[in-house]
Structures are given as C-alpha cells and as structure tokens.
C-alpha cells in the first residue's frame, strides 16, 4: 500500500496538504453537524479572548456578518472542508456563530420551494 505521502488519487485529486496545524491536530467534533448549505451568521457577541482566535477564524467571523453557507465559506477560505468544520465548531461553541435557517431542516425541500426553483430555472 502507498504511504500517505506518496498517495495520489487521480487527476481530480487536489494537492497534498497538511490540514492539522490549523486545527491543532483535531479532526472531529462530537455531534456537530454542518451541512454544505447550512447558513451561518455571527451572533454579535464578541470573542472573550480575541487574541486566541486564529486569523482564519477572524476572517470567517468577518464573512459571517451576513449569512453565508459552509460551502461558500470553505471555498472562500480555500481550506479543506474538514478543517473548516473544526474551525466553525469552535466559533459556534464560543457562541460567536449561529445557524440561520429560512426553511425547516428536512430530508427534501417542500413542493412550494421546488415550484419556486422550477419557475426560477424556466425564467433563466
């Protein structure tokens, strides 16, 4: 088997990175679920120890002054999703970010919403 360093997936694989430095080695957060389209917004509370926030987290808070999705934030920060997940969990647990939800969390969008999407696409 290839060693992790040598491993490359295929043409679609991105570069090899070292994501753990930012998260201090943490890769998972208990029970913390974030969808790619979960929308996050700052709570307005100020960090207790601002100095302890990584620059990346300060930038995330800046971006979340208006609601932004996890996908948007991840793309904009150009960090891997798992790393973002840990950074966002920290901010949430510090009470600095909360979820903004325009429709109830559900397995499928409602027919009303689907109809709106359909009308939007047809008008495109």
């Amino acid at each position: 088997m290839d060693s992790p360093r040598e491993r490359r997936l295929n043409a679609e694989a991105g570069p090899l990175v070292r994501p753990y430095a930012l998260t201090r080695g943490r890769t998972r957060v208990q029970g913390f679920r974030l969808d790619l389209v979960t929308m996050l917004v700052v709570t307005g509370r100020s960090p207790q120890e601002r100095a302890r926030l990584a620059l990346e987290q300060q930038r995330i808070l800046e971006m979340c002054r208006r609601p932004a999705t996890v996908a948007d934030l991840t793309s904009e920060m150009n960090l891997p999703l798992g790393v973002m997940h840990v950074l966002l969990a920290d901010l949430y647990q510090q009470g600095l970010l909360e979820e903004r939800r325009a429709a109830p969390l559900a397995e499928r969008p409602s027919p009303e919403i689907l109809q709106r999407v359909l009308d939007d696409l047809r008008a495109l």
């Binding site: 002054r65 932004a68 948007d72 960090l79 359909l118 939007d120």
Partner: protein
C-alpha cells in the same frame, strides 16, 4: 449539537453588514428569506460533470479530504498526526443565484463508491441528483444509480452526447441501466448552457412529481 435557530429579524449582525465583499453578491437577501438548495451531479470520470456545472454556474474551488470525514465521535486529539499529509479531493461546486433569494448549489463529485462519504452529507435535504452518463461507459454510473435508488433521492439520468451516444435509443439505455420507468432519461450536451439548464429543469420537475 445542532445549531440554534436564529431569529432573522433580531440578529445584531445586520447593522454591521455593509462591508460585504463581492464574493457574497449572491447572498443579498438578508431578511431570512435566502434559501440555499443542493443539486448533486454524479457520474464517472470524464463524463462531463465539471462541464455541466460550469455551463450554468460559476465554478468555485471546494476541497474535502478523505481522512477528516467522521464527525460522529468526540473531539479528537490525534497525537502524532501533525506531520501526516492527507489527500484532498476537489469537488465541482457552482452557484446559481436567483432574484427571489433562492440559490442553487451544484455539487459534482466522482462517482466511485470510495467517495460516498461525501454523498451522504450532500444528499440530505437535496433537491435531487443528476446521474450523468456516457454510453461508452455505462457501468461507471451503476454505483451512483444504486445509491440514489436505495436512498430514495430523486434522480434523473442525463446522457451526455459524446460521439455515438445518439446511436442508442433512450429505451435501450433505460433497459441497460435497469431503472424504474418513472425515472426520466434525457439526452444532453452539457457544453451548451441551454442543454444543461433543461437537465436541471427535468430534475426539479421530477422531484416535484415525487414530492
């Protein structure tokens, strides 16, 4: 822990929102009416996923990693892992924003089973999936079709018109794929915006019929 629901009207964030950069132009509705909805684009390598996403939306970088995927356990201090490298996987990510506050988030990922750790998360709450196929390599789509069938995610099959695709009838393709009669199959050329757009319309129509 699930994020607390915020009251859109009372968030103190609004007052300081003036300096939003252009990266968030699509997210302009700040009154809680903004809706982000997922559409999945599945298919084997080279079948046209990236082309499809790019035809209807602006592609943005989005990477995930194979080792940072299990979010079910406790905060995990992986000693010794600091020096380890991990492979990131690029997803096709595109956004299509509408004036009424809805934004479609298109996600394309490789179709092999090994990438399914991504599919579970992506499929939840999604409008549905487009399984893009190349008639020269039908088997590359079997796993994705199985997955969406079993999960109950609405999906359509879109036949990307590479050379020779039109030599097959849709009926032949349906038989070869062994999919339900109610699952739509459409021909497309994902390089064309209108064609890619009508693929999405067919998917949403189908999702609405089965909603």
């Amino acid at each position: 822990m699930i994020f607390a629901r915020s009251d859109p009207a009372s968030s103190s964030a609004e007052a300081s929102a003036a300096s939003a950069g252009d990266w968030r132009d699509a997210i302009s509705a700040d009154d809680g009416s903004h809706l982000a909805l997922k559409v999945l684009i599945a298919g084997g390598f080279g079948v046209g996923k990236t082309t499809l996403v790019g035809a209807v939306s602006e592609i943005r970088p989005l990477h995930t990693e194979e080792v940072l995927t299990d979010v079910s356990t406790d905060v995990d201090d992986l000693h010794g892992v600091e020096g380890k490298t991990t492979t990131t996987v690029a997803m096709d990510f595109g956004r299509l924003a509408f004036d009424d506050g809805i934004t479609l988030y298109l996600f394309g990922t490789p179709g092999q089973e090994r990438f399914w750790f991504m599919w579970d998360e992506m499929a939840y709450g999604a409008i549905g999936a487009v399984v893009l196929i190349d008639t020269r390599r039908l088997t590359a789509s079997f796993a994705a079709i199985d997955y969406f069938e079993q999960r109950g995610t609405p999906f359509i099959v879109a036949v990307n018109c590479f050379e020779g695709a039109r030599a097959h009838t849709l009926k032949e393709i349906r038989t070869a794929l062994d999919i339900d009669p109610h699952v739509p199959i459409v021909l497309c050329d994902v390089r064309e915006r209108d064609s890619a757009k009508s693929v999405l319309i067919t998917l949403v129509e189908h999702a609405l019929e089965t909603a």
